[in-house]
């Protein structure tokens, strides 16, 4: 039982990270129906920006995370403008291939300049472990940090999406882009802001992972990005609460599988979940079925 609780705690902290990244996928998909393959790499660059801010600029945690979030928000806008905007009316496959191209470009450009080896993330917080249940279960302050930051960011996101003008514009564009444009909403700006918010959340996740695992490397975004995408699909892509739930479910499942089974099965299990959900309920846990009209 204590083993179970321990795995649950690990699962929730990793799941929070997945949820943060998944939000970017799901928001972008919700608004322009694009799987932004490069999103995982924005997360990776966010981690590197955090590394730079803490190791070189000697910032403490909160400013470092903010710097990284702003940097990635700008990066997200630039990617959208240069690579995706010219293709807005192109066939889906063309945009998808472009997204894969952008993803590789970010990965290998980073690798070219910084080398493939992992870099140590400076210890921003001294690790403290709090024993629970008579010391059989431990929670570290890093895990608590991840969970707290995730909750704050998600509350903030919910506020932006539901209580601000730009959030209303985002929802309108996602509902019907043409009608939103006719109502005087600046669709291009709204899409840019969606990319900015999604990328900023990914950057926050990157910094948190850097602190949690103590290292960052150029290809760290591939697996995390794919799993975050699985989380988004699991919860129902395009649905914000779905991405949060999906991330947590995936994180917990993975922890339990590596805790009770083999850690080598941790990666395949995410994809097994993906295949099952795509076959059983492709619209995701929170999604509604939409019938295809001819």
């Amino acid at each position: 039982m204590t083993e179970f609780i321990q795995q649950l705690i690990n699962g929730i902290s990793v799941g929070s990270i997945y949820a943060l990244i998944a939000l970017g996928y799901t928001m972008v998909y919700g608004i322009i129906k694009l799987i932004n393959f490069a999103h995982g790499d924005v997360y990776m660059l966010g981690a590197f920006a955090g590394l730079y801010a803490t190791a070189v600029l000697k910032m403490s945690f909160v400013p470092a995370m903010l710097v990284s979030m702003v940097a990635c928000a700008i990066l997200g806008i630039v990617i959208e403008r240069l690579a995706y905007r010219p293709l807005r009316n192109a066939p889906k496959i063309v945009i998808l291939i472009t997204a894969i191209g952008v993803s590789l470009l970010l990965e290998y450009t980073t690798m070219y300049f910084l080398g493939p080896q992992p870099r140590a993330f400076p210890e921003v917080f001294k690790q403290v472990s709090y024993p629970l249940f008579g010391g059989k279960v431990t929670v570290s302050n890093r895990e608590l940090l991840i969970i707290v930051v995730t909750v704050i960011l998600m509350v903030l996101l919910q506020y932006i999406v539901h209580n601000t003008k730009i959030g209303k514009a985002m929802r309108a564009v996602s509902y019907d882009m043409q009608a939103a444009r006719l109502m005087g909403i600046n669709v291009d700006t709204t899409i840019s802001i969606t990319f900015a918010i999604g990328s900023a959340l990914a950057a926050a996740a990157g910094v948190l992972v850097g602190i949690y695992y103590n290292k960052v490397w150029p290809l760290m975004g591939i697996m995390f990005g794919l799993k975050a995408f699985v989380s988004a699909v699991l919860g129902g892509i395009g649905i914000i609460p779905g991405a949060m739930t999906g991330g947590l479910i995936l994180g917990i499942t993975e922890s339990l599988v590596s805790g009770y089974g083999s850690s080598l099965y941790r990666d395949p299990v995410a994809f097994v979940i993906l295949i099952i959900i795509l076959l059983v309920k492709p619209s995701g846990l929170f999604g509604k079925n939409v019938r295809e009209k001819v």
């Binding site: 293709l87 496959i93 952008v102 995408f229 795509l278």
Partner: protein
């Protein structure tokens, strides 16, 4: 039979056959005479294998319009199955090769039936996920060498095998695409709902194309395993699938000759950039983005290069000249 032979015996087919035979045995003879260095030979064989992979993926992505990014998974099935046949059962090469292809083909059927119900992005992610699952499962099986892979596979792939397999792959896929089944696949790409309304069993043709694509990917994997004599799960990761996809996209989705040309060009580029692995992928990524932004149909689109095309081109230009005059 006689009728078929007569149909086949056209000037073009004869020229092509003679050219291919000259290329096949000419290169081998030059290699035996040490006029072609082992390094050049290595690249020629890799080019042949890449052509097999690109053309087989083109059948799925280009002709049938099913966006699969898990081709390396089927390569892995072919490579491992054939390597096991050679290592543990001492099978002749042709048997290993066919077992590899059949295992990959069966994998294609098993994976294709459930996943091909999905469309577009979802299919892409599902195929990517399944390729990762294949890799993950192989990593977890000790019989297959786990994460360390299999070593000491007898080197059996030579130019004759690689080139021969390539020619067979290209001819089979070309003829399939030009058959009524191939037309059905193309109709699925053009408009699935319309194709279904015309009475085409779209699921059947999607699975058929996917299975054929996997079968030949298996051959490609088996040839590769018996050439480099060493395979590991990580050799068949997402990047490998991506490499093949770039060839298809660059050459033109729906153009066999396009895939052939792109496979040759990209293999040569990657050879020249071998010492700079990261730079190679940066260049690949930039090529891919630029092609998508400025020429999304690829270099050749759905056109094919052929002797006929050149003749027709000339004819057209003559025509326009006379019109000017």
């Amino acid at each position: 039979m006689k009728w078929m032979l007569k149909n086949w015996l056209t000037k073009e087919n004869l020229t092509a056959t003679v050219l291919l035979l000259v290329l096949m045995f000419g290169v081998q003879t030059l290699y035996s005479a040490e006029l072609i260095s082992p390094f050049v030979m290595l690249n020629l064989i890799i080019i042949a294998i890449n052509i097999i992979l690109a053309v087989s993926l083109n059948l799925v992505v280009g002709f049938t319009g099913q966006f699969s990014i898990g081709h390396a998974g089927f390569m892995a099935l072919g490579a491992y199955a054939s390597a096991i046949m050679t290592l543990n059962f001492n099978a002749p090469f042709i048997v290993s090769l066919l077992v590899g292809a059949v295992v990959a083909g069966i994998g294609g059927i098993l994976i294709g039936i459930p996943t091909l119900r999905l469309k577009g992005d979802y299919l892409a992610i599902a195929t990517l996920g399944l390729a990762e699952i294949i890799r993950g499962v192989i990593t977890n099986i000790d019989y297959l060498g786990g994460a360390y892979g299999l070593m000491g596979i007898t080197q059996r792939t030579n130019w004759l095998w690689a080139f021969g397999s390539m020619v067979v792959t290209v001819i089979v896929i070309k003829n399939f695409v030009q058959s009524s089944h191939g037309r059905a696949c193309i109709s699925v790409r053009e408009n699935e709902i319309a194709a279904e309304a015309m009475g085409i069993n779209t699921t059947r043709y999607k699975v058929l194309a996917f299975t054929m694509g996997s079968f030949f990917a298996g051959i490609g994997g088996a040839l590769l395993a018996h050439y480099i004599t060493f395979i590991e799960p990580n050799a068949f990761n997402f990047l490998k699938s991506f490499d093949i996809l770039v060839m298809v996209v660059l050459g033109g989705q729906g153009s066999i000759t396009g895939s052939v040309v792109a496979a040759i060009v990209l293999t040569l580029i990657s050879t020249f950039l071998q010492s700079l692995a990261e730079l190679r992928l940066i260049i690949y990524a930039i090529i891919l983005i630029l092609v998508m932004l400025f020429r999304p149909q690829g270099l050749l689109g759905t056109h094919e290069l052929s002797f006929k095309l050149f003749q027709r081109k000339r004819g057209v230009s003559h025509g326009s000249h006379s019109a000017d005059a």
